[in-house]
Each structure stands twice: as structure tokens, then as C-alpha cells.
């Protein structure tokens, strides 16, 4: 007897008002109230009747959505003329208008210019229906192929990780039949408790091997394919723990080895996994976050900090971190709070923190949004400014520190200026800025003034990240907020990571062997290094986005330098297996990452 139930039974009727409006529209000026009421009732009854009938046609067309054609068919069955001229593939777009105490729902009807229709005789033909076959299941096991839905839907994965109590004991998963004959034999061998064994099929093992090799291998085209697969394949759920372990171990080893290229590849794998719509990574965040953090704040990420563009890695990893925060932050895990705290701690340690880590912490914070910048970065601008001033202006600093300081300065100006612009009211005074922010004051002032004069400032960093992160490749050209681009020399030692995967991957997780092959030019390193270094000092420059020509020039000079180098050979290590050696031999030495994909 609730109101809802009542509404259920009787529903709504057309209003008398509607009748009058419709009557007006066909030229009947003043419809008497009684007539309108009578009409409204009758028409409501008839309409409902027709819709009820139309429902039959919906069922028989094996749909759940009522369409225009169903109404037509119902009218036809009642020997009424169908409504010609209505064509709507989707639901009718009802518009709402109110005014003068009256409310009105209507369909926006556009005037159709018949001439246009007549001239465009070649209307787009609908695609022809085609037939495609695939295995939905084989002997009761559903293969994880793109044609089938992911074995564990994302929302179930989420439920499982957020609320484990809710997890139902699945008696029928897509796995192997539980009552098969082979299983019976398993029962005979003593098995007290059904352990959750995550066996990978042979195909999955092969896939894992291929993917991990491609991801850290030297072939960029293959890597792109592998990452694409990681980002889109639906059936990776079962392999996820192994993938994560691979990434974590990889980061752990390569940070020690200062192998920038591999760290970048591993971060790209993280990104691909984050982008995969069918995966829910929450269960693995406790492993992934430290790895990503390492790539942001580690003291040293590359062999030659003064030359290599480890900044791009830090930027990229920071964006990953903000994506993680955005996707997985809940009131129970407080990821964002914890990460913010972690970065802030780095800032608070003052001069003890290396400049590169400081840069990472600042970048990490700034990716978390304007509010974070305002609260955690602004108050420290002065002290940071003082510190980098020392390195930039002081006479005795090393080249490395100088570059780092310059990076920090650029970063701060880039991220703080938009925040200050919103925070402070014009006019801006240089003195005031100097007072408040010390060394960075004048530069910030200039940036803020510049931002104010630009009519459409680039959107806040937070937004920008989200767009650029969803599709790194595509947005390279779109990101305008990047003030500078770093170009670096492609020489120096490179490493390849080769995984020993002769056995079953399933049993290997704990004793994975990671072998490192160092590939060096046969010429004594000492003689090459200094000369290249001297070149580097001239080459590494900040090139502003506007001067693309000079940038291109520099790239070509680089290529020339590369071309002049002697061929690279492999230095054999004694522990290395013969077969793998061959493989390593075939592999081209990885050209140290073309960092453009990270921008």
C-alpha cells in the first residue's frame, strides 16, 4: 500500500495540460476541460495498451530495449497506421523546459533540409553482418582469448581485494573441471587442505616469457606490441602476481645497477598494467608503489647523472603515482595521504636529501594536484630556493648539482606559477615575491605575470596529467605545458636483462635467475669516456619548445656521433649459457631509450 506500489499499478496519465498544448499545436484554440480530461484518459489507456503490445515484439526480437519499430509493429497489429518518419537508433532525447510555473518535456525536432538529403545520395551503408567463430569453452574450460570475457571481471577483482569477506567460494570458475579424473588421482595423494595453486598453463608461461622478454628487450616495435598486449588483453589476471614480481625484482636490481633504460621499460610495463581495463591492481599496490617511488626519488638512477635524462623517468613515474592515487585511493587505504606524507618527509630532511631526490619528491607532489602544491611546496620554496641558489650561483659546485638545481628551478616555476596565479590577486610585485620566496621570487613573478597575460593558460597540471597519462603516445604532441625538452647523448654502457626461463615459470617465482650481460664497446672505456664527456657538456642543453629547429639539429649531430662509433660487441661472461648467449648476440644493443615516448 505504499505510494510506490500504487504508482506501480496505476502509473501516470497524460495531463490535461498536455492535451491542450497538443490541441493548440493542431489549431484547436480552446479545448474544453472536460474534453481534454476525457481525451487524456482515453489516450493514456490506448498508449499504454500499445506499449504493452510493443513489449511482445521486443521479446521476440530478443532484445531488452523498446524501439521505434516495436511500436510500429504493435500499431500494425492493431490495424492502425504506423508512425512514419521516426528513426532513432538510440533513446529519444527528451528535453525539459520550464517557465511560468509550467514544466514541459519535449523532443527536439530539427528541421531537415531535404536538399542536403537529396544531394548526399551516397548515404553511409550499414556494415554487412558477418559471422565469426571462436571457442567459448573447450572441454569445460573457457580459454582466455580476446573473444571471451576476462575470467574474473574487474568488479569482482575489486570486490575481492577491497572486501575479501564477500568473496564467495567459487565452486565453478573457468578453471579446470573440479571433478575430472586426473583430479581424483590428486585426491588419492594426501592433500589435506585445498591450497590455492596458481598454475599457469603452458600457453601462459610462453606468453609470460615472450612478454617479459619483449618488454625489456631491444626491439622497440616488439616492445610496443608487448605493452599493447599488457594494456588490452583480458586474460592476464592469473599472471598478474608474476608480472608484478618481475617488475619489482627488475627495479630492485636495476636501481643498483643504475640502468636507466630498463627502469624506464619497467615503468612502462606498470603503466600498461594500470591501463588494462580488465585488471584491478589493488592487491599488488604494496609491491608496486615502492618500486615506482624508487624511480621517483632514488638518489641515482643512471650511470652518469650529469648526462642521462633520468628526469624524464622521474616525471613519468610521478605521473604513474598520481594515476595510482586517483584509481585506488579509498578512505580505508589512504594511499594519497601516505604518498604525500612520504614525499613531504623527503622535503623536510633539508640539505641531507640529494638534489635528485629532492627533484623527485617535488615532482611527485606536484603531480598530486594544486592543493598539494599549495600546502606542501609553497611554504618550502624559500629554503629550497636558498639551496639551489647555492648550487647555481656558487663557484665551487659540481656540474651534476648545477644541472639538478636548474631542473628543480624549472620544475618549481612550472608547477607553482599556476597555483600562485590563482592564489594571489594582481598586481604582482617583484619585491613581494622576493620577500616571500627568496631566490625563486623573481622567476616566479615573471612566470605568474606571463601566465596572467596568456588568455587561456594551459589547464592545471592535474588535469593535464590525466589526459597525457591515458595515452602517452598520442599526447606527446599535445602537451604544451612542457617547458623544456632534454636531449641526451646516446653513448655509454648498456645492459640487457635476460631472464632464465627454461623451466616452468610457475615454480620459479622465488628463485628467478636474472642474468646481466654488459655490452661495452671493445675499445677501452677510459679513452672514450672523457672525450664523449667533453662533447656531452656541450650537447646537453635545455631547449625550449619553441626552438625546434636547433633541437633537430642537435639530434642529427647525435646521430652522426653514433654512426661514427665502432660496432658494439658482446663481452662474454663465464656464467652465461650458450643458448642464451646466442640470443643475446642476436639482439641489437638497446639504443638507450628514445625518451620522446615519456614526454
Amino acid at each position: 500500500m505504499s505510494k510506490n506500489a500504487e504508482n506501480d499499478l496505476y502509473g501516470t496519465n497524460l495531463s490535461v495540460e498536455s492535451m491542450k498544448v497538443i490541441a493548440e499545436s493542431i489549431g484547436i484554440g480552446n479545448l474544453p476541460d472536460d474534453a481534454a480530461k476525457e481525451l487524456a484518459e482515453d489516450i493514456s489507456f490506448k498508449l499504454k495498451h500499445i506499449i504493452q503490445d510493443a513489449a511482445k515484439f521486443v521479446h521476440h526480437a530478443k532484445r531488452t530495449k523498446l524501439m521505434q519499430s516495436d511500436i510500429d509493429a504493435a500499431l500494425k497489429a492493431k490495424n492502425l497506421e504506423p508512425q512514419y518518419g521516426f528513426q532513432s537508433a538510440e533513446g529519444l532525447p527528451f528535453r525539459f523546459a520550464s517557465g511560468g510555473g509550467r514544466e514541459l518535456h519535449f523532443i527536439e525536432e530539427k528541421e531537415v533540409v531535404l536538399n542536403d538529403l537529396l544531394q548526399n545520395l551516397n548515404a553511409k551503408a550499414p556494415l554487412e553482418v558477418s559471422l565469426r567463430s571462436h571457442w567459448l569453452c573447450i572441454d569445460g574450460v573457457q580459454p582466455t582469448i580476446p573473444e571471451n570475457p576476462p575470467p574474473v571481471a574487474k568488479n569482482i577483482q575489486k570486490l575481492e581485494s577491497v572486501d575479501p569477506i564477500n568473496k564467495k567460494p567459487n565452486k565453478e570458475t573457468s578453471g579446470k573441471p573440479t571433478t575430472g579424473k586426473q583430479k581424483l588421482r590428486n585426491v588419492e595423494t594426501v592433500q589435506i587442505k585445498q591450497l590455492a595453486t596458481h598454475e599457469l598453463s603452458v600457453e601462459q608461461q610462453l606468453y609470460y616469457k615472450e612478454i617479459t622478454e619483449a618488454c625489456v628487450g631491444s626491439d622497440e616495435a616488439r616492445r610496443a606490441e608487448a605493452l599493447q598486449s599488457l594494456a588490452s588483453d583480458p586474460g592476464l589476471h592469473e599472471m598478474l602476481p608474476r608480472m608484478c614480481t618481475f617488475i619489482i625484482e627488475g627495479v630492485r636490481v636495476n636501481v643498483v645497477q643504475n640502468n636507466l633504460a630498463l627502469l624506464i621499460y619497467l615503468m612502462r610495463m606498470v603503466k600498461a598494467l594500470l591501463d588494462n581495463q580488465s585488471l584491478y591492481l589493488e592487491k599488488y599496490l604494496h609491491e608496486l608503489i615502492p618500486s615506482v617511488t624508487t624511480c621517483i626519488v632514488s638518489k641515482q638512477l643512471c650511470m652518469r647523472p650529469e648526462l642521462d635524462n633520468h628526469w624524464a623517468l622521474r616525471d613519468f613515474a610521478s605521473r604513474l603515482m598520481s594515476q595510482i592515487c586517483k584509481n585506488f585511493n579509498t578512505s580505508t587505504n589512504n594511499i594519497q595521504t601516505r604518498i604525500t606524507r612520504m614525499f613531504t618527509n623527503a622535503l623536510q630532511q633539508g640539505d641531507k636529501v640529494p638534489l635528485s631526490s629532492l627533484y623527485g619528491a617535488l615532482e611527485g607532489l606536484s603531480e598530486l594536484g594544486a592543493e598539494v602544491i599549495r600546502i606542501f611546496i609553497l611554504p618550502r620554496l624559500k629554503s629550497i630556493g636558498a639551496r639551489i641558489e647555492m648550487h647555481l650561483q656558487g663557484p665551487t659546485t659540481s656540474n651534476i648539482d648545477k644541472i639538478a638545481s636548474e631542473h628543480i628551478k624549472q620544475l618549481l616555476i612550472k608547477v607553482v606559477a599556476p597555483v600562485l596565479k590563482n592564489l594571489k590577486n594582481p598586481p604582482d610585485y617583484v619585491e613581494e615575491y622576493k620577500q616571500e620566496f627568496g631566490y625563486l621570487g623573481p622567476a616566479l613573478h615573471a612566470a605568474v605575470v606571463k601566465a596572467r597575460t596568456q588568455p587561456t593558460p594551459s589547464t592545471t597540471t592535474a588535469c593535464n596529467i590525466s589526459t597525457s597519462l591515458t595515452n602517452v603516445g598520442a599526447t606527446i604532441t599535445r602537451t604544451v605545458s612542457q617547458p623544456c625538452q632534454i636531449i641526451q647523448q646516446n653513448t655509454g654502457p648498456q645492459r640487457t636483462i635476460v631472464m632464465n626461463q627454461s623451466g616452468r615459470v610457475a615454480n620459479q617465482i622465488n628463485n628467478q635467475k636474472i642474468l646481466f650481460v654488459t655490452q661495452r664497446p671493445p675499445t677501452p672505456g677510459g679513452s672514450v669516456q672523457p672525450s664523449s664527456q667533453s662533447q656531452q657538456n656541450t650537447v646537453v642543453k635545455f631547449v625550449s619548445n619553441t626552438s625546434t629547429i636547433s633541437q633537430q639539429k642537435m639530434i642529427t649531430t647525435q646521430k652522426l656521433i653514433q654512426g661514427n662509433q665502432p660496432p658494439v660487441a658482446v663481452v662474454q661472461k663465464s656464467t652465461f649459457q650458450q643458448s642464451q648467449l646466442k640470443k643475446a648476440d642476436q639482439m641489437q644493443p638497446p639504443t638507450v631509450d628514445d625518451l620522446s615516448h615519456l614526454m
Partner: protein
């Protein structure tokens, strides 16, 4: 035929000015002009066929009497309470209609608003439809009110409950109530204990109440007769013979010598099979026999499915077909797929490497040697092979297609009210069967060929033969659209499922209904007979699969799990597995052996519906497709499951 009925027919003839027919009928029925005044007298009757509702009862008393009845039901003993509760719904409906008919709209709406929502959930949909009716005019030609008016609502009740009710009615002498119960309710009494709520719920829900015991008393020959003797043909080749005769592929070879006696013994043992000549079937042609042998041989390679051997499923997905595919069907030998589209086209695909060939032209056919063995192959034009062919002819959405067993004919039905027979050799329409006046929802070829059955919006199902342009039988009795139709494997019976939520089994020879089964709560969209012929599975909009035992017409199991309407059901060739597929993009595999074993071990009480098995016990596995609703399921001869689905790109 009764006189009054004749008079009504005469009146209609007069109305449409069919004088010739009218006179003929008069002559045949030996009716003089004495009935001439009949029409006049009846005129008022036909225009207001609702005299049953003519009542001068005080509109004020209705609500009170209903309250009174409700109080009585609630106050009675727990064992009788639920059975008594069954009368509340029909009483409410008839009170409402009576009030509406007599012009007390206000009172009627009040009554409905007050008591409508507290009826069982499965009645809500009908109540909503009834609530539309608020004027006497609305009752004219309204399907639901007509049904209530012209049919008694059937309630099964134990003797004790019924006597309790009668006593109460006698005591109270509530004229309104008494009138309604006498006029519109029929009590089908049985001996025994009163049923409980779940038992009642299992079989109620249909328009017009439950099935009477009388409805399910006729003997049904649900057995499968012995396969036609194809020994003569197969004799020359020894192992073909064996393949043909061997009904059970598991049979060890050493019994080969004894197989003939064994075989005949087996037929004698199946007392439920109809005599082979119960319905006339055209003789088998040589080609049919050849095909039959092939089928047997294929069947001997069949895998026996079960919980340990789950089927493999090959899914055919129709792409670029958003909301345009209405139906699909695969031939018995799994070589072709036919799809009916909403834009009136029927399209046939080949699923095997052999292309779809057309017959040679007339002149070329003259050159073909008729006496050679492979004459059929030679008749086809080798160069005309195509992987898919379209059949144009319908002028409305095609709702169902069905292949003839010999794969040379295809039958299709459409919203344009016609049924078309197509040749799959010359790829044109051969016959248009016009008979239904309204959209035809379903059509099925008989497993023996020659006959086909159709189901329509006009509330009838019809039995046709391909060489007759008029139906052979007209199965009338459903209160609403007949949504689906299915032939019994022995071709002697036709099952129909309807929007009145009843499943009916009709005898092809007599045209009478022999089983009437209630229990569905929504329109029925799909039917499938078990391989043994004893069980019938039905499913529909209420997302449940119900399994019926045809020997007594009992509901034996209710398989729940789907979340959207089910449109496809299939039994594996070995009969061990039942699969269902629905719009929720799920394919569910059910253990049918377990179900039948449990049923046969149980004692069957003829008068009483056994307890209905509910739950997931029988669910073996559930497979999801990627946003592709399943529209058809088919087991190949080797027990590979073929599923047809259409990819719904919009919903993703």
C-alpha cells in the same frame, strides 16, 4: 455444437453479409428459421458479452466482503491458509471488473489500490494490465478481461480446504462473494493434504489459474519409436549396417550377432512409444536413407557428456548486427546456419567447407544422368558455390527459421503474418502459407519432415504440411499469444508455450490438448524436449528453466540462475546435459542425468505434484560471452555445442 454457439456463428455470418455460407450452415445444421430471431436476441449478448458482470450488488459492499474474506483466510489454520489464499487474487480481479463494468470506477480503483499490491508478485504484471481498465468500454476486446470473463479461474484445492471454504461461504451468505465464486471460479478438488506456500507458488502464476487434473489425464505416447528399418539399404556395406543399427554406441561389438533380436526386444520394451503409423509420414527416399546412415555413423563417434566430460562450445558471433538479428537455427547435421533479420531478410551461411550451391538451369539439368548414384550432387552447379546466401521475400521482421531434416527446405515466419517455404537448392521461395491473421512468432519443422508447426500472436498454434496451403490442425486454447512451438521427437505431439504463462502439449492426430502445465510467471520463449521424449524443458522471460515430466504433466524442477530472458535451450545428443542461453550473455550447463535419476527414484503420485527441485545443484558450469546475447544453441551429432550469439556493440 450447441445451439447457442451455432446461433452466434450465424449471427457473425450475417454481420459480414456472407449469405451463402449462412444458408449452407442453416441447411447442414437443420436449423429452420426458428432461429431467425436468435440473432436479434443475441445481439445484445454479443455486444455486451459481459453479462456475467451485470450485478446490482451495492458497490459499497465489495471492499467489505473482500476484507471479510481476507480476514477469514488469514485467520484459518496454517495448513489451509495458503490454499485458501489462492482465491484472493481471482476474487479481487472479478470484483474489480464487476465494479468497473457497473460504472463504479472510483470504487474499483480504490479496491485495486488497496489490495492490488499485496497480491503475489507474479500477479502484479497482470494487475497492472487490469488497472488500465477503468471503463466499460475498455473491457471491449481486451485480451485479459475477456479471458477472465469467459473462463473460470481454476484453483486446485484439497477436500478439507474446500469444505472449509464452503462452510464459510454458507455462513456468511455474502452475496457478492458467493456470486463471484460460483460464476468465475472452478475448484479442482483432490484428496490429500493441503499444499504449502512453495508448492502453490511453483505451479501458480498462469492466466486462468492452474491446470485441472482432467487436463493431464490422457495418455501421452512420449516414447521414441524404433528407428525406421534401414537395413535393406545398408545391407551391402557391412559396417554401415552396423553403424545404422547400433543405437547405443557403447554397446560392445560381440553382441553384433544378436543385435536384431535385441533391437526388436527394445522396441517392445518401450510401452510409451506411439505406434509407428500413428501419424502418416511420406516414405523415405533413398537419399534420406543414405543421410540417415551417415548420421548414425557420425553418432557412433559421439562423446558421452556428463559432469566429468563437459562439452566444448564453439560460439558463432554475428557482428555488425546490433538489434537486427531475431533468430538463428543450425541444421541437424550442423552444416548450415540460417539467421532471420528484422529487415525481413533470411540469410543462410555454410558452416562447413562445402559452399552453398544452386541447382543447374533447366537445360543443363536435362544432361544429367538420372540413374547415377550421386544424381543429387550432379544436379548442383559447381560454380555457384557461395559461403552465404540471402533469401528475400518477407515484408516484416523474420521471427523464426527452421530447416527441414533433409536440409533442402527452410521455413520462416514473420511479422507480415506469412510463413514462407524456401528451397535451399534453387534458393527461392516455394510457398507462402497464409493463415495466421497476425504476426507469426515461431515455426518448427517436424523431426520427420513434411509437417511443420507455427505459433502466432493470434493465440493459436497450427500444424501444417508442406504440400497443403491450409493448416491441418488448429491448436486453440491459449489465452494469449503463443510464443513458441516445438515438435516432440516422435512427431506425434506439439508443445506450445504462451504469454498466458502455460505450456501446452497437443496431439497432432486429434488436435486436442493432452497436457497443460502451469508454473511459469512470464511469457515462455523457448522449449526443448529431452532426448528420451519424457521431459520437456521450457524457459522464458521469467529467467527460469522449468522441467516438466510429460507422463503426468508435473513440474519437476526449476532451474534458476539466469538474470535476463532465456531464448535458447538444448539437450545434448546423449541426453545427459541441458544447456540454456539468455540475453544476460550467459550459457549455463545443467546436469540432466542427475535430475532424471532423482526423479525416477522417487515415487510419483498422480494426483499430486511432486516437490519441485530448485537451486544450483544441477548447475555444472556457466560461461559468459563478451556482451553477446545467445540466441540459439545446437549440439552436433558428436556432441559439440554450437552457440549462436549476436554481438551487442551498443551496450559496451
Amino acid at each position: 455444437m450447441e445451439k447457442s454457439q451455432l446461433a452466434a456463428v450465424l449471427q457473425i455470418l450475417k454481420k459480414y453479409n456472407l449469405k451463402g455460407t449462412e444458408e449452407l450452415l442453416r441447411k447442414e445444421a437443420n436449423l429452420g428459421n426458428n432461429i431467425a430471431d436468435g440473432p436479434l436476441q443475441q445481439n445484445s449478448d454479443v455486444s455486451s458479452v459481459l453479462t456475467g458482470y451485470k450485478s446490482d450488488g451495492d458497490p459499497e459492499t465489495y471492499e467489505d466482503s473482500y476484507m471479510e474474506l481476507k480476514r477469514f483466510v488469514e485467520g484459518s489454520l496454517d495448513i489451509y491458509k495458503h490454499e485458501l489464499g489462492m482465491i484472493l487474487y481471482p476474487v479481487l480481479v472479478h470484483m474489480y471488473l464487476e465494479l468497473v463494468y457497473n460504472g463504479h470506477t472510483e470504487k474499483a480503483i480504490n479496491l485495486m489500490k488497496k489490495f492490488g499490491p499485496e497480491q503475489d508478485s507474479y500477479y502484479q504484471e497482470d494487475l497492472r494490465k487490469l488497472a488500465l481498465v477503468t471503463k466499460r468500454d475498455h473491457m471491449n476486446g481486451n485480451e485479459l478481461t475477456d479471458t477472465f470473463k469467459s473462463n473460470q479461474f481454476i484453483i486446485r484445492m484439497s477436500r478439507d480446504t474446500l469444505s472449509l471454504l464452503k462452510r464459510h461461504l454458507n455462513d456468511k451468505k455474502a452475496s457478492v462473494l458467493l456470486n463471484i465464486i460460483q460464476e468465475h471460479l472452478y475448484f479442482d478438488m483432490y484428496e490429500g493434504v493441503a499444499r504449502n506456500k512453495s508448492q502453490i507458488d511453483a505451479t501458480s502464476g498462469a492466466v486462468g489459474g492452474e491446470a485441472k487434473r482432467q487436463d493431464n489425464k490422457t495418455k501421452v505416447y512420449y516414447g521414441i519409436p524404433k528407428a525406421p528399418d534401414i537395413q535393406a539399404l545398408a545391407a551391402p556395406v557391412e559396417d554401415e549396417d552396423e553403424g545404422g543399427e547400433q543405437d547405443n554406441p557403447d554397446k560392445p561389438k560381440k553382441k553384433k550377432a544378436k543385435k536384431d533380436p535385441l533391437f526388436s526386444k527394445k522396441t517392445k520394451n518401450d510401452p510409451n512409444a506411439p505406434p509407428p503409423d500413428r501419424i502418416p509420414v511420406p516414405d523415405m527416399r533413398d537419399h534420406d536413407k543414405y543421410e540417415k546412415v551417415k548420421a548414425y555413423r557420425e553418432a557412433s563417434k559421439r562423446v558421452t557428456l556428463g559432469p566429468d566430460y563437459l562439452p566444448s562450445v564453439c560460439c558463432y558471433t554475428l557482428l555488425n548486427a546490433n538489434h537486427t538479428v531475431n533468430c538463428a537455427e543450425i541444421t541437424e547435421d550442423s552444416s548450415m546456419l540460417a539467421v532471420g533479420f528484422s529487415d525481413s531478410i533470411v540469410k543462410v551461411w555454410t558452416l562447413v567447407p562445402q559452399k552453398l550451391k544452386a541447382m543447374k538451369s533447366g537445360e543443363q539439368l536435362e544432361d544429367v544422368n538420372v540413374d547415377v548414384e550421386d544424381v543429387v550432387v550432379r544436379m548442383m552447379d559447381e560454380r555457384s558455390g557461395e559461403t552465404s546466401r540471402s533469401l528475400y521475400g518477407h515484408s516484416g521482421p523474420v521471427y523464426s527459421v527452421s530447416f527441414s531434416p533433409d536440409k533442402t527446405l527452410l521455413i520462416s515466419c514473420s511479422e507480415d503474418t506469412t510463413i514462407r517455404l524456401w528451397s535451399l537448392q534453387i534458393w527461392t521461395c516455394l510457398v507462402v502459407y497464409k493463415g495466421h491473421m497476425f504476426p507469426v512468432w515461431d515455426v518448427k519443422f517436424s523431426p520427420l519432415g513434411y509437417y511443420f508447426a507455427s505459433a502466432s500472436y493470434d493465440r493459436t498454434a497450427r500444424l501444417w504440411a508442406t504440400d497443403h496451403y491450409q493448416p491441418l490442425r488448429l491448436f486453440a486454447g491459449h489465452f494469449s499469444d503463443v510464443d513458441c512451438v516445438q515438435f516432440h521427437p516422435n512427431s506425434n505431439y506439439v508443445a506450445t508455450g504462451s504469454s498466458d504463462r502455460r505450456v501446452c502439449l497437443w496431439d497432432c492426430t486429434t488436435g486436442n490438448h493432452v497436457r497443460l502445465m502451469t508454473g511459469h510467471k512470464s511469457p515462455i520463449m523457448s522449449l526443448a524436449f529431452s532426448v528420451c521424449g519424457r521431459f520437456l524443458a521450457s524457459a522464458g522471460v521469467d529467467c527460469k528453466v522449468l522441467v516438466w515430466d510429460l507422463s503426468h504433466g508435473h513440474l519437476v524442477a526449476e532451474l534458476t540462475g539466469h538474470e535476463k530472458p532465456i531464448h535458447a535451450l538444448a539437450f545434448s545428443r546423449c541426453g545427459n546435459i541441458l544447456v540454456s542461453g539468455g540475453l544476460d550473455c550467459l550459457l549455463k550447463v545443467w546436469d540432466f542425468t542427475k535430475l532424471t535419476e532423482e526423479i525416477s527414484s522417487e515415487e510419483v503420485n498422480v494426483s499430486h505434484n511432486p516437490d519441485v527441485r530448485i537451486g544450483d545443484d544441477y548447475l555444472l558450469r556457466s560461461f559468459a560471452t563478451k556482451s553477446s546475447p545467445l540466441i540459439s544453441l545446437h549440439f552436433t551429432r558428436r556432441n559439440l555445442l554450437l552457440a549462436v550469439s549476436m554481438f551487442d556493440g551498443v551496450s559496451t
